[in-house]
């Protein structure tokens, strides 16, 4: 695994603004079902949104990623931090990606996923465990590529799905792959 050192070194300090904690939207809110708009990573409102996403992720127990549509903004931007999760192998710490897309995906594995926007259900979802993603960092707008594995790869696919207007419910493996959540974080 090759870590992208630029992304791994990124912190929210680069944003230069304080993030606000926003309310998380729950399904069936329409904003979760429509593809987000491409964003300008250098625009002040997008930089503020990046900071708000991280602030909201930080105060939400167990939250390892949050997409803009989950705070009611239909825009292709999300934050990720899987560094403390038990299923994580390699990771890039905390970062925000704008206009991200999957470039390569392989080695599908099935695992149970939950989502802050669907708080009472979990589902078994097959996702690639080796993933190459291309996106832009906020503020500078520089394009970066990340090669992710294991849980970070799953998290990136889940967040990119949000930016495409998809929930994990759209990818559950079958009729017995949807579960009532038994324990809450």
């Amino acid at each position: 695994m090759t870590i992208n050192e630029r992304v791994a070194a990124w912190t929210e300090a680069e944003l230069g603004v304080e993030g606000k904690v926003l309310d998380v939207v729950r399904a069936p809110a329409q904003v979760l079902s429509v593809p987000g708009e491409d964003v300008d990573p250098t625009a002040p409102e997008i930089i503020q949104l990046a900071a708000d996403l991280i602030a909201t992720m930080r105060v939400s127990p167990g939250c390892v990623g949050l997409a803009a549509d989950q705070v009611g903004v239909s825009a292709r931007i999300f934050c990720v931090d899987v560094s403390t999760h038990v299923k994580t192998k390699t990771h890039h710490g905390t970062y925000v990606l704008c206009n991200a897309e999957v470039v390569e995906a392989s080695r599908n594995e099935k695992a149970r996923e939950g989502c802050m926007s669907v708080p009472d259900l979990t589902g078994d979802v097959k996702r690639a465990s080796r993933l190459k993603v291309r996106g832009q960092l906020p503020v500078t707008g520089e394009t970066v590529e990340i090669v992710a594995d294991a849980f970070e790869a799953r998290c990136l696919q889940h967040e990119i799905d949000h930016t495409d207007g998809l929930l994990f419910i759209d990818r559950v493996a079958g009729a017995h792959a949807l579960h009532q959540r038994q324990t809450y974080l």
């Binding site: 729950r26 990818r171 009729a175």
Partner: protein, 172 residues
């Protein structure tokens, strides 16, 4: 050898499965296929059992399970029939959106119109969110794109979202 379909439905409590299956085993019945789940606090199971016991004998043996009035038990003998051949293509359909009457009936009508057979279906209500996940088999000559656009049309009218995906089986 006959096959009996047995359903047990009612208020959930520990021991329903153990009690029911012990009685069936005592009658020499083999549990061939079953589904058991809890729906909003109610336990529901459907069992297909093979054996020599008569319908009357099974009903009599299971009668004590329903005696306190919290469970309903039904027993039917099934006719002999061949299992479906399964020559079609398999798909998963996910539907989710705001709860309202008619989501399942509307969407499944489109699948039926395309000659599709639903083999498994689960619904969940979570707050305002209603979710349907169905596994279905489409005839080999069915036009998937036409079915997809029909589903898209009716789900838009219902104000819900739907995704139809092929089931990929990995042979190892």
């Amino acid at each position: 050898m006959t096959i009996h379909a047995i359903t047990v439905l009612g208020h959930d409590r520990p021991g329903i499965i153990a009690d029911t299956t012990a009685r069936l085993a005592g009658l020499g019945l083999n549990l061939e296929d079953s589904t058991m789940t809890r729906l909003r606090g109610h336990f529901a199971m459907t069992l297909l059992c093979a054996g020599e016991a008569t319908t009357e004998a099974i009903r009599a043996d299971l009668e004590p399970i329903a005696s306190d009035g919290t469970l309903t038990v039904t027993v039917y003998e099934l006719p002999e029939e061949q299992a479906a051949t399964g020559a079609g293509r398999l798909f998963v359909l996910s539907v989710h959106g705001g709860d309202r009457p008619g989501i399942v009936s509307t969407v499944t009508a489109e699948i039926a119109a395309a000659g599709g057979n639903i083999t498994d279906l689960t619904t969940r209500l979570s707050g305002d969110l209603y979710v349907v996940v169905a596994e279905l088999e489409l005839p080999a000559d069915a036009d998937v794109a036409v079915l997809e656009s029909a589903i898209r049309r009716v789900t838009q009218e219902l104000g819900v979202d739907a995704t139809l995906r092929p089931i990929e089986a990995d042979d190892l």
